[in-house]
Symmetry: C2
Subunit: 614 residues, 2 copies
Amino acid sequence: MQYGFTGRIVDIDLTTRQVNDYPIDEATLRKYIGGSGLGTRILYDLTGPATDPLGPDNVLVVMTGPVTGTRVPTSGRHSVLSRSPLTGIFAESDVGGTWGVMSKRAGFDGWIIRGRAEKPTYLWLDDGKVEFRDAGHLWGLDTYALDEKVKAETHGKACVMSIGPAGEKLVRIASIITDGRDARAAGRCGLGAVMGSKNLKAVACYGQREVPVYDAKGLADSIRAILPGMVEKMKARHLYGTANWTLTAEHSGDLPVKNWRGGRWEEGAEKLSGPRMTDTILTGRYYCAACPVGCGRVVEVKEGPFAGVKGAGPEYETIGMLGSCCEVSDLEAVALAHQLCNQYGMDTISAGGIIAFAMECYEHGLITRQDTCGVALEWGCAGAMVEMVRQIGEQRGLGIILGRGVKAAAEAIGGIATEFAIHVKGLELPAHDPRALASTAVSYATASRGACHLQSLSYPVELTLKMPELGYPETLDRAESEGKGILAAKMQDLMSLLDSLKVCKFIVTGGGGIQPSQLVSWLNQVTGWDMTVDEFLKAGERIYNLKRLYSTRLGISRKDDTLPPRMLGLPRPDGGAAGYLPNFGQMLNEYYVFRGWDELGRPAPEKLRELGLE
Amino acid sequence: MQYGFTGRIVDIDLTTRQVNDYPIDEATLRKYIGGSGLGTRILYDLTGPATDPLGPDNVLVVMTGPVTGTRVPTSGRHSVLSRSPLTGIFAESDVGGTWGVMSKRAGFDGWIIRGRAEKPTYLWLDDGKVEFRDAGHLWGLDTYALDEKVKAETHGKACVMSIGPAGEKLVRIASIITDGRDARAAGRCGLGAVMGSKNLKAVACYGQREVPVYDAKGLADSIRAILPGMVEKMKARHLYGTANWTLTAEHSGDLPVKNWRGGRWEEGAEKLSGPRMTDTILTGRYYCAACPVGCGRVVEVKEGPFAGVKGAGPEYETIGMLGSCCEVSDLEAVALAHQLCNQYGMDTISAGGIIAFAMECYEHGLITRQDTCGVALEWGCAGAMVEMVRQIGEQRGLGIILGRGVKAAAEAIGGIATEFAIHVKGLELPAHDPRALASTAVSYATASRGACHLQSLSYPVELTLKMPELGYPETLDRAESEGKGILAAKMQDLMSLLDSLKVCKFIVTGGGGIQPSQLVSWLNQVTGWDMTVDEFLKAGERIYNLKRLYSTRLGISRKDDTLPPRMLGLPRPDGGAAGYLPNFGQMLNEYYVFRGWDELGRPAPEKLRELGLE
């Protein structure tokens, strides 16, 4: 057995109910590390241009990483990968919570789902065994209720991954939820619809196996030395969650306001801030497995129009998209919309972007109350925002069109609506503004799953983060375009590694201050490998290039590596990024040159040889 | 009668054969001047979102200007306007030759064509009368042969405007040709297909009326004073034609090479240069009516594979698109392709862009010899380029798809082909590179008919032209983005005026050195008006805004004001513009702010009030 791995990736065919092992040799593990990297390799090998994202030939790959289940801080994570029904291209989602750890304890480094079950089904992964169970009685349940039911039918301490009604109805922004009311999500790219298309309602797992660690003492010593400082540095995240960013975002011009047309919005941002949440609806904090920080929020809203909230509270991204992007400043409404998204199983980022899009269409008369079941879809109307979440989740009224994502919805609505559809490659922008943090422009344009902040997370280096091991001993000027193409590429490679090890990005970018050499050291302590920082970083580059190859094989090229026109040519009117527009073309070209990609945006043959990807 | 006008715009319905006058009052004339401006007003009033560009409800508007037919230098021009079947939006084409003058001599300031003739028809405008004639025996003729036939049937000195087989077959890049073998073209936007859709093969006119001039002596004195200097300043154009630009374009990085991927191409450019043409195939020079310069080329190729050329020779744009953009350096081949385009009645710019696009598709295996009737569509192959012109013009083989323009062709071919489709709003780029002359980027993105150099002609101010009356006493740095949005807007307004007066842009931008005050002075001398330079420039702004309104009414907005990805993010590899990419977003925003257009790119209400366009 390989240290850091249980040694088993299981390949489950829902059509035939066959269960096979999917063997991976150690050389492949070293090349792709695990999690996102290994998942990409598998996805690349099993799907391609002929794969229908919602057909039985698509696969859903769920992967842990080599450090998952060990004492490495924040290592309670897993990756979900597939070909996206929202964007049609490469899709992955990085998830916190407890699933990753429990999967390994149950004896699975990862699993692959193929085919389509004849009728609603759930899987029970019980200590190395795979059981197919009928889910007819669970179909239609929301993810919170489902979690309780499945635990009752399997094991009280099982970890459950499931889809809600949105995934069942193949809503293109459907998510996959784990940990029930604590709700951790594989949010982006519509992975819940892939699960729904396979008639797979849920997967539960339980086990008590240990993950073998090569140098347990060395690892423990290292963590003991680092942990207190890390906790101290990330204290604000513990106190206020990711929503601690809300006010800073407003001040720097990063916060999306009114579908990306607004600038200053301080009063609204204050009402949605992390401290405000702590002072009002917060009832507890949630720690993903192996996390010493606990940035997860637990909230409750007992009274008023948005009562009924109990459980996971909104992250900054949710606040930015369902809140400020819709000009909604009612925190309780955002908390309810967030919970509804979790229960229906829908991405809060895309949902917010879609509703802001719909509000702008409504402002311009492209949609009317005839279309919205009577809802006056006005900017800042909290009730309308929540109602739209319901219409999408339940697939009624305007929600039927909106559930396809802004790109397809704009095409259906027609005319000028595409002006309001703020996306890259079909994926709605998350809550960071490329006009406030220049590198974000090229990060979004080149992210392999569409507009994504997490696949690069380059912007912290433009604020406070120093990455000396990547060549950034000091932070960079956020309004400078030069050098940002290179920054985005380097950070994409590093983030690919964090997603492959399966540790939380925050230990690097969120104040944790961890550098690549520490990550390699942990990886070596867990696996017994002798990987150098160079080999490690090269693996990150390899993984990112393979993600690119997945989509270039589908026809993605330079033409798709762009930004919505609003981001290219309409500056924010006031506030912390007033009047600024980065030189996008210059950054993009710098990025391609640094990447060694050709004039079509494809990794060039010499780059592929260098990375062992011929 | 109004000085400068014959007083009659005729409104011809081909369906009913009704002929009416289309009255215009003097206030409207002053607001829109004539030509392009007045034509836009008429087009705006008669067509809209419900108009099918190839349906009987579309109209073709052909307009002269107030100075057409007078002694104002270069005033032998006319405008053709319609809703474009290529782009779906506003379309106009500015044409030289003799039609404008002859139209006025025949008693028509302009004419409007509506409806659809039951069978092939031509019109004979004989000294104020409109006659419908059968064109069954002319259908299928090329424009050169047609010209001779119609002259023989009407008047030996008649001026004939016609379509060739391309217009008959509704090829989306079909042009309208006047002056037979001297071939002046309403080239861009597929106006020939509009004529074809109406079963209108040709219009001939003849007359000997004089255009009344208010201050004939003052005008004559002014012209006498200016003419010798103007001729001297434009001597290179007389000697070498517009092709004199070829080598300068190559040196500055302006010349398109290999579908806009190339940089240096000096050897090829030399073979296509104006001096080379003068030394080889040139047999004469062509002067449009009232032109003292004679930049038109008359050429002959008697022998070799490209023999059979006799008549109008290629302009710089043709050389840039059918030549260098396809890496074809054989001047005789370009001359033949040019003549074929004229005979079929097709735009040489779009034809060149389309063939370069097809060559790149062929390079990447997206089209094969199966599709091309066996033609190896390789870069630089002169014979293949000429053969593709034939396939488009005759609508066979690959020409059927290519005749739709690069945008639609790329969609039909699919996948990465859209990467190679170099257009704005569906109109193929002309032969100037926005990466060599920064203002061209925003000029192309905002031109009202799609990628167009003529609607702004801002780049001469980045090279040698000084426009003190517009605030440019010195030329600007071509690699600087700042200020170029404003430059593009100011030049668009001025070019709208030149196109409305109906004088040649070269008297301003092509070395003539004429400033707006001189243009107003001529206009006042012709019409008896007391227009100030301010009122004149305001009319230019009004006209340009009305062109914008035409297309915003159809759903055009900021989202459409962009450039092909290749122009935004892929610099030229070497040569005179190596490595440079302008800051497009910054220029575009500057442009909108200067224009007073709103966040959707529509003229804002206060701007419309200011211009009297409420």
